[in-house]
């Protein structure tokens, strides 16, 4: 469960103070499917980064699975990030010199999982994401949709409880985007908390809960009208 309590995030831009997050409070239940929408600069990416422990709130508290995170040091944050949170990005952020298999394996390597245990875990994920015969390809030998699916596999390999997607379809054509959305929605169906940041209404409408932001504030927060 994710609980934000009066979270603010200030940025200093020149001599101006920008409130990227202004007194945001919310609770996200495990297994929920959220979309966060809003215009550029509304603070939606900052919210995602705070939830993903990539960024710290300036004030307020953030509790992840009953653990207060604002007091954690950098190493503890890295450790929590590795085990509880998976990220996917608009521009995929695959390591270009590594094969798909190695990209997916990387979090396991960093976490010190033994090689013998790594192989089957990576292989199973690649199979699940229909990338079985793509393991030895480099990112530049893969299509955009395939790259994002490799990124999803990498995000899932540590079996996190939360999957954060920042414009996951932003760099993809419609068909590939639909594939990627189907893939992450399937993960959500198996119980993972899915949070998608987007400005594409078609993507955002698929979620069960919708959050709209403007100027660092949550201006709207409602459940889907249509039942999935």
């Amino acid at each position: 469960m994710i609980r934000l309590d009066k979270v603010c995030r200030l940025f200093q831009v020149g001599d101006q103070e920008v409130r990227a997050l202004d007194d945001v409070s919310m609770v996200i239940e495990n297994g929920d499917y959220l979309s966060i929408m809003g215009p550029s600069g509304s603070g939606k990416s900052t919210l995602l980064n705070v939830i993903g422990l990539l960024d710290r709130p300036t004030s307020g508290t953030y509790t992840l699975d009953d653990r207060e995170t604002t007091a954690l040091n950098d190493d503890e944050l890295a450790h929590t990030r590795a085990r509880r949170i998976g990220f996917i990005f608009q521009s995929f952020h695959l390591v270009s010199r590594m094969t798909a298999f190695e990209n997916v394996e990387l979090p396991l390597v960093l976490a010190g999982v033994a090689p013998a245990e790594r192989k089957p875990r990576v292989k199973k994920l690649l199979d699940d994401l229909s990338l079985t015969d793509r393991g030895h390809h480099r990112p530049d030998q893969l299509s955009g949709g395939q790259r994002q699916r490799v990124a999803i596999a990498r995000a899932m390999v540590m079996q996190p409880t939360v999957l954060l997607a920042d414009e996951p379809t932003g760099n993809l054509d419609h068909a590939s985007g639909a594939e990627v959305l189907a893939a992450i929605e399937q993960l959500n169906a198996r119980g993972i908390t899915l949070i998608v940041v987007t400005h594409d209404n078609e993507v955002g409408d698929r979620a069960r809960r919708h959050i709209r932001m403007r100027d660092g504030k949550v201006v709207d927060d409602f459940a889907s009208k249509r039942t999935p």
């Binding site: 950098d74 450790h79 590795a82 990005f89 960093l110 010190g112």
Partner: protein, 403 residues
Amino acid sequence: MSLADLLKLAIDSILRARMRSSMLLLAMGIGVAAVIVLTGLGEAARRYVAGEFQVLGTRLIIVIPGRSETTGIQPGLFSGETPRDLTLGDAQSLRAIPDVERVAPLIIGAAPISARGREREVPVLGTTADYIGIQTTEVTEGQFLPPGEIDVDRAICVIGSNVRHELFGDGPAVGESLRIGERRFRVVGVLANQGRSIGFDTQELVIVPVSAAQALFNSGSLFRVLVQTRSRDSMLRIRDRVIAVIKARHQGEEDVTVITQDALLATFDRIFTALTLTLAGIASISLGVAGILVMNVMLVAVSQRTAEIGLLKAIGATRRQVLSIFLAEALLLSMAGAVVGIAVGQAASWFVRKLYPALPLAAPLWAYVLAVTTALVSGIVFGMLPARRAARLDPVEALSGRK
């Protein structure tokens, strides 16, 4: 993260980013090779000059009988005494002085020599086996006077190359006999074509054992005694000891003149210092160039990877893990670069040696140590600095590539 995984990550990264790695290897290689070749050149030049000075006999002390005064009358004339002769005994006693390497007594005179009916007048030098080590002259045929008791009179001689040709033509000379004055001598060796002893042209010389020369010229007194010291540093001390020893043997009379090449030594020291400074300058410039080359390539290489560092942090790498990945890469690359540099440097040195055998190009050990240390240190420092900065960056900023 296990060490094996860390090394695998680093090696994969080096092998797959071929352009970056080869640029870095090139920079390191050029840097290290430049240090090795340039210091090798400097060292070769220094040794060449040092060798030339050695020819001039800088470790030489010359003992001349008689006290030479630039002013006044010789004390001997005044008291009715003549200066004592310098004897073989004096020369032998000088051998006992510590740090004296060689002592060669000299007797010089002219005598008619003849062989196979040809006769001519040549300078005859009486000395000992030590003489060949003091002078730069070499023996091309046979051998020089054998070492042994210096007061044993043996009828053997070593002849200069001109004497050899004039007496024996193209036929064998070693083992032949010739007549010096009234006595027959067996030729044991021939001196090389080149080489100059102080004052004599060795091509025209006949060298006989000092005792034989004493008998030949019917004189017990020596013309000179050459003393060679083990090192240049001990020369002044040994010079004083030589005077003291002779004085003790001559009833407290200081009746010899001892010459060291002081002016020569001072010049030599100045040139030596200048050369050493030049060498240090060359080495430090090439080290600096090497360091800057490595720095640039490393800075560019790591800065390009800010996004990768951000990603590593996003998927759970700690700052320490990010740093150790970059450290391992920098370390492996720097070591490979140092090896490449040494290989290139060695190859270049070998090539120069083949082209100019007179210039023995070989870098001193300290140049290798310094070059490799500089490559490693600059590779690691400038590989780590940007990585440290990137690892400290917020992953958000690193990922967006804004910084």
